[in-house]
């Protein structure tokens, strides 16, 4: 059974999420909080399998919780968002999140969505796909500055992103590329991880450019 930590400031939504997770036979809520600092303590204390986190917390940024979860390791971070818009989701993915969950997702679907992430899947929208493509194109420019090994997308991962950006769903992509639905999902998750690595590398690159660190020494 996978443990889930819920950090959401809206009480009703938090309760709804708690209820939905609790209903799923393979999930249990290990803790919940409406605050950043408390969430951080709970994260360290429980080391859950899944972190469900809202970004806009009253006493801090949910991104820091995702970062912490990434540092602790073996925690799948899922950002809870109203619209699933690229502004929120991209920040979370860059911090290390591997998925997002719409706040008004049906109660019966919430547990399934979490399990999908735990099983290697990852949700993605056409808008986020476009942003990912744009991001990795920029990444190549940075690589050209002799920055070091940055993770580039494989051809298949690129194909999947392009199809998603064109509005195809996972089944349609699986059919087009003659691969399984699960494989499509895995590709997206890998892309997310690469984005996280890439964003960290970019941070290192920026730090070096600013003279904060010296990686060549």
């Amino acid at each position: 059974m996978a443990s889930v930590l819920i950090v959401e400031d809206d009480q009703h939504i938090r309760e709804r999420l708690t209820c939905a997770v609790a209903k799923h036979p393979e999930l249990n809520v290990c803790a919940e909080s409406g605050f950043h600092d408390e969430g951080m303590e709970l994260l360290v204390a429980h080391k859950p399998n899944v972190l469900l986190v809202d970004l806009g917390l009253p006493d801090g940024d949910g991104i820091e919780l995702i970062n912490q979860a990434t540092n602790l390791g073996d925690i799948e971070s899922i950002v809870v968002t109203v619209f699933g818009d690229e502004t929120h989701v991209m920040r979370a993915i860059e911090a290390g999140a591997t998925g997002y969950l719409l706040k008004n997702t049906g109660v019966d679907d919430i547990g399934a969505s979490i399990m999908e992430v735990l099983n290697g899947g990852a949700p993605i929208s056409p808008a986020i796909s476009r942003h990912l493509l744009q991001h990795f194109r920029n990444d190549k420019k940075i690589t050209a500055v002799e920055h070091g090994a940055l993770p580039n997308l494989t051809e298949r991962e690129l194909d999947v992103l392009i199809y998603i950006s064109k509005g195809l769903n996972y089944q349609e992509i699986a059919g087009t590329l003659n691969i399984s639905y699960h494989t499509v999902s895995t590709h997206i998750k890998r892309v997310y991880r690469k984005l996280h690595v890439s964003s960290r590398s970019e941070a290192v690159y920026e730090a070096e450019q600013l003279g904060l660190i010296h990686i060549r020494e």
């Binding site: 939504i13 309760e15 109203v82 619209f83 049906g106 950006s165 064109k166 509005g167």
Partner: protein, 621 residues
């Protein structure tokens, strides 16, 4: 700039033409007079009196002409008288004259006791007539049959090379042309050369003022000194005492040779740092020495003054040959070398003439047209080339500046656009964040609350619709230039789970779409609302289980369109005419300048087709 080049070209061509004329003109030769009396013997008497000496007790000496006082009367000065007895059987019946090709320095001619000519331009003042041929006509009746007495009075200072060369008497129509020809060659031509040298010097001096290139300066100086030097050959009435005039004109000669030497040396690229100063110092010292020497020493001093300079020119020729061997030869340098030859040869000739008291005409100054035309042509050619190069360079610079201006302008515009995009992006993110954390979050919270408390479903539907509309607003704020394809794919992405939940299959085919020019976020939102309303109508009224969406070119008009069809019950005629939902869709599409049509399919089901503007090109989504 073009005018300058054209003017320079014109001058260059004129000089070339003059060179041709000069070479052609050199072929003419002086003619001699063979029908006149030539006098080569005379009686000579030194006597300081203005009128012909008379009396049998005078010690007349027989002399041969030319009579050179520096040899025959080395210490003589003042008046020297030449007497000739001319016996005529018959007096001439036409006008006769006496032609004296060369005398030094002033002469007066008496025939049978009558003064028939005097060459001094100002009475009682020394003149500088040594290079002027003299011609005097004999009044009718003065010559008689029998013996006629001709007296020539020659005036010369001591050691000033007084001389009388053989002279002629004869018919005016025979002697005058010879005199005029000789006068032209020795006086008029010298005047022309002087004017030419001065003009050339001033013109090149003007170029020097513009370009400040030493080469032009030395040539201009040399030309101007050349002009002064030439005055020695034609100015009779001097503004200075004779000794100073000799010193001044011949010092100019020294400077002329020195400046020209420096010019040629500079032109062919010799290193003249020390040599140049030595030459200039020599010229200055020579000028001072000559100015201060007494008249009787001046002419002999000139021999020594010119000697080192001509030696220098000979050395220059050797240097030139050496330079020619070691460095790459050019056409212009060849021309300059050609101009050296007359300076060396004619200058040497004149020096021998002077040093050995010879009676040949001085020739160096005649080489001016040849030299100046050649060198002037080279310099002006060099100048025009420089102007042309400057013109090309200017053109290139102008092109580069223009290109850089364009680049800067483009960069500025790009920066402006990027800044605007950044501001828009930041603002968009702020609005999205506000909506997300504010009304969006509250709507979701309200939905969660209602779900928890099991409230009225219609109220929940209204909230869900409000949330969907907010999502449309968020999506329509996409910053892409042509965001319609993305908006449509996002719409599909968002609506697909809802249709799936109602067991409705969605078939979505999206082809290439045109870029819709000024399609603002507001227009995008209106379009999405129309599409959303079409979907809502299907869900609520159509009783369909399939929806087909085709985005791309459609119909015979080949216009882009979004076509939404279902397999439901279709529109009723009342719906098409008065339906509020369809009316709203018509209004919204009209507001954003698009066309919409509603129709039923033959095989069943309804269709909504939204025509997009198609005047622009297509973009891949």
């Amino acid at each position: 700039m073009n005018r300058q080049v054209n003017a320079a070209h014109l001058i260059q061509n004129i000089i070339f033409a003059l060179l041709c004329i000069f070479f052609a003109g050199c072929s003419f030769t002086s003619h001699s007079n063979q029908s006149s009396l030539l006098f080569k013997d005379a009686d000579f008497l030194l006597k300081n009196q203005a009128k012909p000496p008379k009396g049998d007790n005078l010690a007349w000496q027989k002399v041969k002409l030319p009579d050179l006082w520096d040899f025959t009367h080395p210490d003589a000065g003042g008046f020297g008288w030449y007497r000739l007895k001319i016996k005529l059987n018959v007096p001439p019946n036409r006008l006769w004259g006496i032609y004296l090709p060369r005398i030094n320095r002033d002469a007066a001619v008496f025939l049978n006791g009558v003064l028939i000519g005097i060459d001094a331009p100002i009475e009682n003042k020394q003149s500088n007539s040594w290079n002027h041929p003299l011609y005097f006509t004999i009044p009718n009746g003065l010559l008689t049959s029998g013996e006629n007495l001709l007296y020539i009075r020659l005036e010369s200072a001591v050691h000033s090379r007084g001389r009388l060369l053989p002279f002629y008497m004869g018919a005016d129509e025979l002697l005058r042309p010879t005199y005029e020809h000789n006068y032209f060659f020795r006086v008029t031509l010298s005047q022309l050369i002087c004017a030419f040298a001065l003009t050339m010097g001033l013109c090149v001096g003007l170029i020097w003022v513009i370009r400040r290139e030493a080469l032009y300066g030395w040539f201009a100086l040399g030309s101007i000194f050349w002009a002064f030097y030439t005055t020695w050959f034609f100015v009779r009435s001097m503004p200075l005492p004779l000794s100073h005039w000799i010193a001044l004109t011949n010092s100019s000669g020294v400077w002329m040779i020195g400046c020209m030497w420096i010019f040629v040396g500079t032109y062919i690229g010799l290193k003249l740092r020390i040599t140049k100063y030595i030459i200039l110092t020599y010229c200055a010292v020579t000028t001072i020495v000559l100015w201060n020497l007494p008249q009787q020493m001046l002419l002999d001093a000139l021999v020594f003054a010119y000697l080192p300079l001509f030696a220098l020119w000979s050395w220059m020729m050797l240097l030139f040959f050496k330079h020619w061997k070691t460095k790459q030869a050019s056409f212009d340098k060849g021309i300059v070398f050609l101009s050296i030859i007359p300076i060396v040869t004619l200058g040497s000739f004149d020096w021998i003439n002077l040093a050995f008291h010879l009676q040949y005409p001085y020739l160096l100054h005649y080489s001016a047209p040849f030299i100046f035309l050649l060198i002037g042509w080279v310099l002006i050619r060099r100048f025009t080339t420089a102007i042309r190069e400057a013109e090309v360079l200017n053109l290139e610079l102008e092109t580069r500046v223009s290109k850089r201006e364009t680049e800067l302008k483009e960069a500025f515009e790009t920066i402006h656009v990027l800044e605007r995009q950044k501001i828009l992006k930041t603002e968009r993110e702020r609005i999205m964040r506000d909506i997300h954390d504010g009304v969006g979050g509250q709507l979701v919270s309200a939905l969660a609350m209602m779900e928890h408390h099991g409230s009225d479903k219609s109220l929940a539907d209204t909230l869900t619709f409000a949330l969907d509309d907010l999502r449309l607003i968020i999506d329509s704020l996409a910053p892409e230039e042509d965001g319609l394809p993305e908006l449509l794919t996002m719409f599909k992405y968002r609506y697909e789970p809802k249709l799936k939940a109602q067991n409705i299959l969605l078939y979505w085919k999206q082809e290439e779409l045109p870029i819709l020019g000024e399609f603002s976020p507001q227009q995008s939102l209106q379009l999405l609302r129309v599409i959303q309303e079409a979907f809502t109508n299907i869900l609520k009224h159509a009783e369909a289980n399939q929806i087909h969406v085709v985005v791309g070119y459609s119909g015979e008009e080949n216009r882009a369109a979004i076509c939404i069809c279902d397999n439901g019950i279709g529109f009723s005629s009342a719906q098409q005419k008065q339906g509020r939902g369809l009316g709203n869709m018509r209004r919204r599409t009209a507001d954003i300048g698009l066309d919409i049509e509603f129709f039923n399919q033959q095989q069943g089901g309804a269709c909504v087709r939204i025509w997009l503007n198609s005047e622009t090109h297509t973009a891949k989504i």
